[in-house]
Symmetry: C2
Subunit: 209 residues, 2 copies
DNA sequence: ACCCCTTTCATACGTTCGTTTGATTCAAAC
DNA sequence: GTTTGAATCAAACGAACGTATGAAAGGGGT
């Protein structure tokens, strides 16, 4: 068994705390304490707190992007024009499946992503690479073929709708306030509900002028 | 014309800055500087930074809640069981209409709300009153009658989906990263797109077991 | 003219933050 | 055994933060 790499332990601790308290709400000291490392280790291994966030974000996003890409490949290998429902499944599914286990059904990771996306600070959007853009553009093209008559702008609006529903929905689960006495959402049920919800939404006819 | 009330100017400045930089990213000094007031004015008029946020949030949410409530009243006065599409319009419409003008189509205010909802800190959810719960429960009941066969849990999931789409969608518009060369979403178009998208989503048949 | 109460002001306090520094440890390379 | 370079460490830096304090200002009512 490999020794507990300090760098990895800092990544784990940061992922946990950023998700739990946000970027600004998490001090470097809290991260190194939880990781059992020295305060200066963050500067040494990552350069700065912002670059640590970027490393955390990349590690979380990467498997999701890969699964989205693979899912689309699988669909396109079968037919050049997959139906909307299957595109939704391939795009939104990994947002549920590719979250680390023991993570309250991925809610903590979902919150991490939302925290990053929503944050107004500039440095929070510095970490994205071209891989994300590639996946996005491929799905845009596929959805465009499956939904002829939809303007590119409205299509882009709907794609963002998918992200909004899958991400924010679970964030709100995470920090509470459901109406009194509603059993918490089970992980697998939420996934199916989201696919149902989003497949119907994506399949809506184009909005008239 | 009334004199520029210090308290109001602080509210305005705080609303602007909280939306632009988030709660933790905004210092009390930045607020009072923008408001042209003294640093201690925040403590004097509001007690603390957190209570200032609560006041800002209440001022923004109140007209939205009122419009949602009035819209539902109007529908119910016509028929005891309004169709799904009209319920969506009444619920989501005010999220577009009741945002202050000169606000980049409400995107800045939408971002303020999302910033507050998403924030993990405890004090960010201290300001909500019973008015919000009342509106939410009334729409839950109305949607429940319009969508028989939907479990309360899935219904709650869908309601949150509405909020997610209307709010987050415009936040992402606000801090950028659309695919290359897509004209920015016009305010009125986004509103219609959202209603189309959400009406179809809400009308989806219940997810089978 | 005096007092009272609200509002504003300059200043300071104590804390926490991200980052830097220079010494120290330690295992492998020579 | 000595050297080397990566990794860790305690300690400190200056800056920024939220809040508190006590004095000053302002304007009615008497």
């Amino acid at each position: 068994m490999a020794p507990p790499d300090t760098r990895t332990q800092i990544l784990d601790a940061a992922e946990h705390l950023f998700a739990e308290r946000g970027f600004r709400g998490t001090s470097v000291r809290a991260i190194t304490d939880l990781a059992g490392a020295n305060l200066a280790a963050v500067s040494y291994h990552f350069g700065s707190k912002a670059e640590l966030l970027a490393a955390v974000a990349r590690r979380v996003i990467e498997p999701i992007n890969a699964a989205q890409c693979a899912g689309l490949d699988r669909l396109l290998a079968r037919t050049p024009d997959p139906p909307v429902t299957e595109l939704v499944e391939a795009f939104a599914g990994p947002l549920f499946d590719e979250m680390p286990a023991g993570d309250e059904g991925g809610a903590r990771t979902a919150r991490l992503i939302v925290t990053i996306i929503v944050d107004p600070a500039e440095e929070m959007r510095r970490w994205t690479g071209s891989a994300e853009d590639t996946v996005r553009d491929r799905y845009l093209a596929a959805f465009g073929r499956a939904l002829p008559g939809l303007s590119p702008e409205e299509l882009w609006f709907r794609i963002r709708g998918i992200l909004a529903v899958t991400a924010v929905d679970r964030v709100e689960v995470y920090n509470g306030r459901p109406p009194a006495s509603l059993s918490p959402v089970a992980g697998e049920a939420a996934r199916r509900w989201a696919i149902t919800f989003l497949a119907a939404a994506m399949s809506a006819p184009p909005t008239g002028t």
